[in-house]
């Protein structure tokens, strides 16, 4: 204890003496406090280091390596990237993923918004609607994927039965190259819409009623009220949900893997599916990591935008 006190002036010669020189005991206590603070932090910190930070760095490192588990990795320069870029499936996967995201945005944004708008006007059975719309979200995604795979069955599937009932021409659904992706978007929308509707409902409830009254006094009709009151008042939530949805749908995997297996003719292979194939079918971890890095950069940009927007809005 005295030793550290003696050494102190040597270690920090230019520092002027503290107003109340800290006794060594207090410093030791501070050290003990720190040890305790890190004791509480340690478990969580280790898990983050091992399963978040380290894999992120490793993705970048391995993307420049020839990597087979068990043998020492070799540096491969940009060979992984060029190989992945030359793969004809690469363009398919990105085109499918972007189309999927765009379609999911068109359907998955407009339908829940209109639905929330209508639900907010209904004065009866509110909790029934909330429970029912959120029910598919609680069904395991694998189950909803298998369920829709059965519905889409071209023979006795419910989807074609419904079309026959309405005397409409039947569809190939997931078996047609031009309809498969849209069919998957419908599944994803059905399964995830509940969350979006509930968030919109919360946002709609927070709109002050006086705004509608004022608009009505000014002679605004229903559509004008939606356009000039509802949408501006919920703009921020709409934007947030859009970004979150883009981030989520760009990582779509379960639906194509379970329902179509990427087919027919690669029409539903997504980027994440391709990453999975590179790693577990081709045993090409370098290629898988190169793809992951590309996806990461793109999604990281969206996430950064999302966090920036929530930050700035939260401050005001």
């Amino acid at each position: 204890m005295t030793k550290t006190a003696e050494r102190r002036p040597v270690a920090h010669p230019p520092v002027p003496p503290l107003p109340a020189p800290a006794p060594a005991g207090r410093r030791r206590r501070r050290l003990a406090d720190q040890a305790r603070a890190y004791g509480f932090l340690l478990g969580g910190l280790l898990c983050f280091a091992l399963f978040s930070w380290y894999p992120a760095i490793r993705a970048v490192v391995i993307s420049f390596q020839r990597y087979t588990p068990g043998s020492p990795p070799e540096w491969a320069g940009t060979a992984n990237f060029t190989r992945v870029l030359d793969d004809p499936e690469f363009a398919d996967a990105w085109r499918n993923t972007l189309t999927f995201t765009l379609l999911a945005l068109l359907i998955g944004f407009a339908v829940p918004f209109v639905l929330a708008l209508v639900l907010n006007e209904l004065r009866h059975a509110k909790s029934f609607f909330h429970v029912v719309v959120y029910l598919p979200v609680m069904i395991p995604p694998v189950v909803s994927a298998l369920l829709w795979k059965w519905f889409y069955d071209p023979g006795a599937g419910l989807a074609n039965e419904a079309l026959r009932l309405l005397h409409l021409p039947t569809s190939n659904w997931t078996n047609g190259t031009d309809t498969a992706l849209v069919s998957l978007v419908l599944v994803a929308t059905w399964a995830n819409m509940g969350g979006t509707v509930l968030v919109y409902l919360a946002a709609l409830r927070s709109i002050p009623g006086e705004l509608y009254e004022a608009a009505e006094l000014d002679g605004a009709n229903l559509l004008q009220r939606v356009r000039h009151v509802t949408i501006p008042q919920t703009r921020f939530v709409i934007l947030m949900l859009m970004l979150l949805q883009i981030i989520a749908t760009m990582q779509v995997f379960t639906e194509p893997f379970v329902i179509t297996g990427g087919g027919p003719e690669n029409s539903t292979v997504t980027v994440l599916y391709l990453i999975y194939k590179y790693a577990f079918l081709y045993n090409d971890f370098g290629g898988a990591c190169a793809l992951s890095v590309m996806l990461l950069v793109l999604l990281g940009a969206f996430s950064a935008l999302y966090l920036r927007l929530t930050r700035t809005e939260g401050d005001t």
Binding site: Q34, F40, L41, G43, G44, C47, F48, F51, S52, W53, Y54, A56, A59, P69, N120, E121, L122, R123, S127, F129, H130, V131, V133, Y134, L135, M138, I139, P140, V142, V143, L146, L147, W150, F151, G155, A156, L158, E161, W190, V199, L204, R205, I207, P208, G209, E210, L222, M240, F253, F257, V258, L272, Y276, A279, S292, L295, L296, L299, E313, G314
Partner: protein
């Protein structure tokens, strides 16, 4: 029927006869739409499992099973070894929940109240993982789990491969930290003056005051593991250790359709039951969490 605040359509417009008629038309169509879009598929699944194999493949389909075949459910239970896979899922989910509650709570408490040196840097590093989409990192994460650095152990086919990565959940940790930040410092200091250690303060003061947020984090943790597919698909190559989500897909090719449908119903029951029991909290939580941003 509660008279809430003013919405898009004025109460006066709704009180008029035409408004009333229109309201009930819209109301009925929404009920029918919801029933068809969300309830009917679930009904179709639950009854499809009760049909005979011929009946389920028949066109046009029958709305109600002609003969009730509960055999679909019992076959699924036995042929697909559902007790084992449900058990695996339960172990994985319960362990992930417990690990998250212990480690995330302790870390959030430390970051919020114990002022560790470089705490801001650590928090920044944790929040930065929110920007990194989890699924995009599954391959390097898999390689890490297959061969842990320094100790060179593999966690593949071990529930630890679910439990430990579940702790690295920045969203839940941040939720806890933000809640702890709002707890009044005086209460915690009063407990310390009474001679309570940090762990004691956490256990007897902080946690009892944090019941709501612990409930939210618990539900998120359980649902996340129960619903996950890609990660357990990668980590559990051993069929006997697979959770129900992976087993359903792996076995879907080898069983009768009615048996598969029955298994799907059984796999959905725990989460749907959880939802029905806690629906108020879950629905309120989604609304509240989002508007706060």
């Amino acid at each position: 029927m509660t008279q809430g605040t003013r919405t898009l359509i004025s109460p006066a417009a709704l009180a008029r006869p035409r408004g009333k008629a229109l309201y009930w038309t819209v109301f009925t169509s929404v009920v029918v739409l919801f029933a068809l879009a969300f309830l009917f598929p679930v009904y179709w699944m639950a009854t499809g499992a009760l049909k005979s194999p011929d009946e389920v493949a028949r066109t046009p389909p029958t709305l109600l099973p002609e003969h009730w075949h509960p055999g679909g459910y019992t076959d699924a239970w036995e042929l697909m070894e559902l007790p084992r896979h449900l058990g695996n899922t339960l172990v994985q989910a319960a362990g992930a929940w417990a690990c998250q509650l212990v480690f995330c709570t302790a870390a959030a408490y430390s970051l919020s109240k114990l002022r560790p040196a470089f705490g801001k840097v650590v928090l920044g590093g944790i929040l930065a993982t929110l920007m990194v989409p989890a699924q995009a990192l599954v391959v390097p994460k898999y390689l890490t789990v297959a061969d842990l650095p320094l100790i060179h152990t593999s966690l593949l086919n071990d529930p630890l491969a679910i439990w430990l990565p579940a702790v690295a959940n920045a969203f839940n940790l941040y939720l806890l930290k933000r809640f702890f930040d709002q707890l009044p410092r005086e209460v915690l200091e009063a407990a310390e003056i009474d001679g309570a250690g940090k762990l004691r303060v956490l256990w007897s003061v902080v946690l009892p005051m944090s019941r709501p947020v612990l409930g939210v984090v618990s539900i998120f943790a359980l649902v996340a593991v129960w619903q996950d597919f890609l990660w357990p698909l990668m980590v559990f190559s051993d069929t006997g250790k697979q959770p129900i989500s992976v087993a359903l897909v792996q076995l879907s090719q080898n069983v009768r359709l009615t048996v598969l449908i029955a298994a799907m119903v059984i796999a959905s029951i725990p989460m749907v039951a959880l939802f029905l029991v806690f629906q108020r909290h879950i629905i309120a939580g989604i609304g509240a969490g989002s508007t706060k941003g």
